[in-house]
Symmetry: C2
Subunit: 111 residues, 2 copies
Amino acid sequence: MVKYQQDELGRTFNALADPTRRAILARLESAPGLSVSQLAEPFPMQLNAVMKHLDVLSDAGLIARSKMGRTVSVELTPQPMADAMAWLQRYERFWSGSLDKLIAFVEAEET
Amino acid sequence: MVKYQQDELGRTFNALADPTRRAILARLESAPGLSVSQLAEPFPMQLNAVMKHLDVLSDAGLIARSKMGRTVSVELTPQPMADAMAWLQRYERFWSGSLDKLIAFVEAEET
């Protein structure tokens, strides 16, 4: 695996390590396009602290912010999660004992 | 989601955020039951630094160490990865919405 890919994955997993950041992503999943202040509303912290979490999520490529007038709205950009899941899938055979999945894994390794 | 679960997931994602720790897990996936010194061998760092990474992986429940005589051997205990994947699967619909997108993703992974 190339170094760049490692860094990408590292940023993704690091962004997902914080419960507030995971809660922000979960909120965006059910309510896409919220403004920053709407997004921050349920969290018991300063807006500034939420903004810092948004910076980490944005650096990891997990969200995109767009400005319209004075409102910044936030969208989920979940491609890095797909990459994280692809990384985890290598280990799936350990917990999903099914023969079909094991065969698929071995076949994928062989190609 | 209960707090305890959040902490578990946080520890898992944090453990996976480091490329050396991911490389250790990848090594254990292809060569289970390596001793600590065998495991540390390919990494360009002090044994002590590898031990610290093993502590993080162990605290996250991703590996188990067992001692036989003077040899400590390490096994993958991947259940936390299954939990991490279950968390990510909530977002799967964003990238696997259509078969075409899924095929494009797989093809991109293969190149």
